[in-house]
């Protein structure tokens, strides 16, 4: 009896204590090194400043769109803030699952007073999207391949050149980026790529170009696969996110180099789920204002090689927190790396994604 009442009292105190002390805030992200960088740059300092907030990390970003829709249908939103890529943010905004944001009132201005809408500029690709980082999908290649006779790929079309650079390649198992690269290397000018792709012949042309290397390609669906395949010498050249390649080269010291040519810029950032109760919404908006200010975005680049989405953050990017190397040259946005770049065309892909994906998968299965 005594034990029971002690337990009951203890539970009651714990319940009271937790509700009075800390409000939980569930933040959803990608896990791994990326979540760690957010934890160091945003969550830890915020929780120090606000001891009454308790941030819970959830690593469900990969299935965030489907889960948010299910939560919305069930009428029970358990997430407060979700990290998604820009194309998913557009989709969520279209579906009415994400809250619309007014950058100038909801987000902090730059230190020199530039309003957030100008500081983020073109990167505000959707009314619901709060950009955080610029990342790129680009190629890494092994630098110790004897058959290449000392040559190194420095052009995107070297990926399609099996004569000079024999060996297997790894590409993502979806049409996005691959068809653009194929057309570029089939002689289409950069500004015409999407016009050509819109036509039936354009896609056939892209697939025909990909056909030339199809039997030498390992198709990946998770970003971690290419680094593993490169490290195991399974492939000699492969596409993935630039941060993954940075970890492979600088942290794991593998004989791999970057091929920045025709890297495709993409954005990752926050959305606030639609339909949050007012108190949780107020709490999360306050967090977002802090976590996307100029200094915080620059801080994140200390832990991972993705470029901050604010123009005003770029000069503040410093050295890697553990390795002590300068991070600026590893940013996809660095002038040396960004000589020839491609910006993911969100509007176009929102229209054509379903159609092209069906055709691409049918081509893959052939």
């Amino acid at each position: 009896m005594k034990l029971k009442s002690t337990i009951l009292a203890g539970t009651a105190v714990a319940l009271l204590g937790s509700s009075a002390l800390a409000a939980d805030m569930t933040i959803v992200s990608w896990g791994g090194a990326y979540s760690a960088s957010q934890n160091n740059a945003y969550h830890k300092p915020y929780m120090e400043m606000n001891p009454d907030v308790n941030i819970i990390n959830d690593e469900s970003s990969a299935e965030a769109v489907a889960k948010l829709r299910a939560m919305n249908e069930a009428g029970n939103i358990t997430w407060d803030l979700v990290d998604v890529v820009a194309s998913d943010a557009i989709r969520l905004c279209d579906e009415g699952l994400a809250l619309e944001i007014n950058p100038d009132t909801d987000l902090a201005a730059a230190p020199d007073g530039t309003p957030a809408s100008e500081d983020f500029g073109d990167l505000l690709v959707s009314e619901c999207f709060i950009p955080q980082i610029v990342y790129s999908t680009t190629f890494g290649f092994r630098s110790d391949i004897a058959e290449w006779n000392g040559k190194e790929p420095d052009d995107i079309c070297d990926v399609f050149d099996l004569e000079t650079f024999p060996g297997k390649r790894s590409l993502e198992k979806r049409p996005i980026n691959n068809v653009e690269w194929a057309l570029l290397c089939d002689g289409v000018a950069k500004e015409d790529v999407y016009d050509v792709l819109e036509t039936e012949e354009g896609l056939d042309r892209a697939l025909a170009k990909l056909d030339t290397i199809k039997d030498q390609v390992v198709w990946w669906s998770a970003g971690a696969e290419t680094p593993q395949l490169l490290a195991d010498k399974e492939v000699v050249i492969g596409s993935t996110y630039n941060g993954r390649l940075f970890a492979l080269i600088e942290e794991q010291k593998q004989p791999v180099k970057m091929l920045w040519d025709a890297q495709v810029f993409d954005l990752d950032g926050w959305i606030v789920p639609a339909g949050l109760p007012d108190d949780r919404k107020a709490a999360v908006m306050e967090y977002v204002k802090f976590a996307t200010d100029t200094q915080r975005l620059a801080d994140q680049a200390k832990y991972i090689s993705y470029g901050p989405a604010r123009a005003s953050s770029a000069p503040l990017v410093g050295k890697h927190a553990d390795l002590g190397i300068d991070m600026a040259p590893h940013m996809p946005t660095d002038p040396n790396n960004a000589k020839n770049t491609f910006l993911y065309n969100y509007e176009w892909w929102a229209d054509y994604r379903d159609d092209l994906d069906a055709k691409f998968q049918a081509w893959l299965a052939k």
Binding site: R91, G96, D232, E347, D351, D355
Partner: protein, 420 residues
Amino acid sequence: MSETATEQVLTTKDGRPLKASLARALRREKLRALVLIAPLLIFVLLTFVAPIADMLFRSVENSIVEDTLPQTVNALQDWDPSSGEVPGEPVFAALAADLQVAVDLKTHTRLGSRLNYEKTGISSLFRKTGRRVKKMTEPPYKEQFLKADKKWGQVDTWQTLKQFSPRYTDGYFLSSLDAERTSEGLQMKPEDEQIYLLLFGRTMMLSIAITVSCLLLGYPIAFLLAQLPLRTSNLLMILVLLPFWTSLLVRTSAWKVLLQQQGVINDFLVWIGLISDANRLVMINNQTGTIIAMTHILLPFMILPLYSVMKTISPTYVRAAKSLGATDWTAFWRVYFPQSVPGIGAGAVLVFILAIGYYITPELVGGTSGIFISNRIAYHISSSLNWGLAAALGTLLLAAVMILFIVYDKIVGIDNVKLG
């Protein structure tokens, strides 16, 4: 019995007819049994039957068009899609009125994504028009819509809208079968878009291959386990179960390390000189990889039912057969094997049904030729958000399993399946 007892009705001690009293007692007992299983029954209904029913319903449900554009759907009833002409001003006026409401509720973009599955470009059409529609307050609307986007002046935009305006659609099922309804009627999709029938066929073939290889590998192991003394067989059983308790992802990754071209097996074969360095075997990222990895993962599901059935086969039968002059093989094939068939049935059904819905292992080791229909279902659930199509594909998969189950019942007999 009742017709013989017409003259004298049997009664219990308190004067009631025996039959009624008995029925009452039985009813009470049944009710008690029902109350006892009620929690489980409700649980199964809520967590199993209801979601499946909901999924089946999603594959035909299509109320979004009528809910978002009620007046337009109504106005479109008089329009003939085969006329080759864009509808007139009344339809555009109705569309303007509907969109005014939809933009306030932000449902127009949702409808756009829904119709974009059917016709590429509608997603941005609705998004773009939604931004302009607030300014459209005065007729004529048709011109203003055409100015906002020229797609409103194309007949096929309206054909799509009309075709998908009913509350229920067979469109998802047609897509799942690589077919579509065009202005010329029902036909197959162009060849470069056909994929689902191929994947259904492949899922069946690979699942059968996996079931057969599980049986070939599992039967001797189960036989051995059943013959050995309990102490040794328990030890071996742990070896069977150990990988069963290891994470699926760990085991799949281990197969990657073993099977890849620079992997352990290829290195070994090159080292002993069986193959040359330039001709390393491709054993992963194709069907071989899927079959090997999934056979390994599903093997315990074959061994366990086989073992428990074999345990019940009395050794005296085989001994009797031998004493009557049968050879070892005849005794096994004519006496032992037929008694183990219920275990084969149970194991095969279990492995096959698990294999047919497998998703994560084919995704990781299947490359392009070793992926299953479930990988596409997962894509439509989590990535393209085309839940209607995912539901239709799921329903077809469920139906295929049911049909196979019935065929199995007809050929082998389901009462012949035993788990022990």
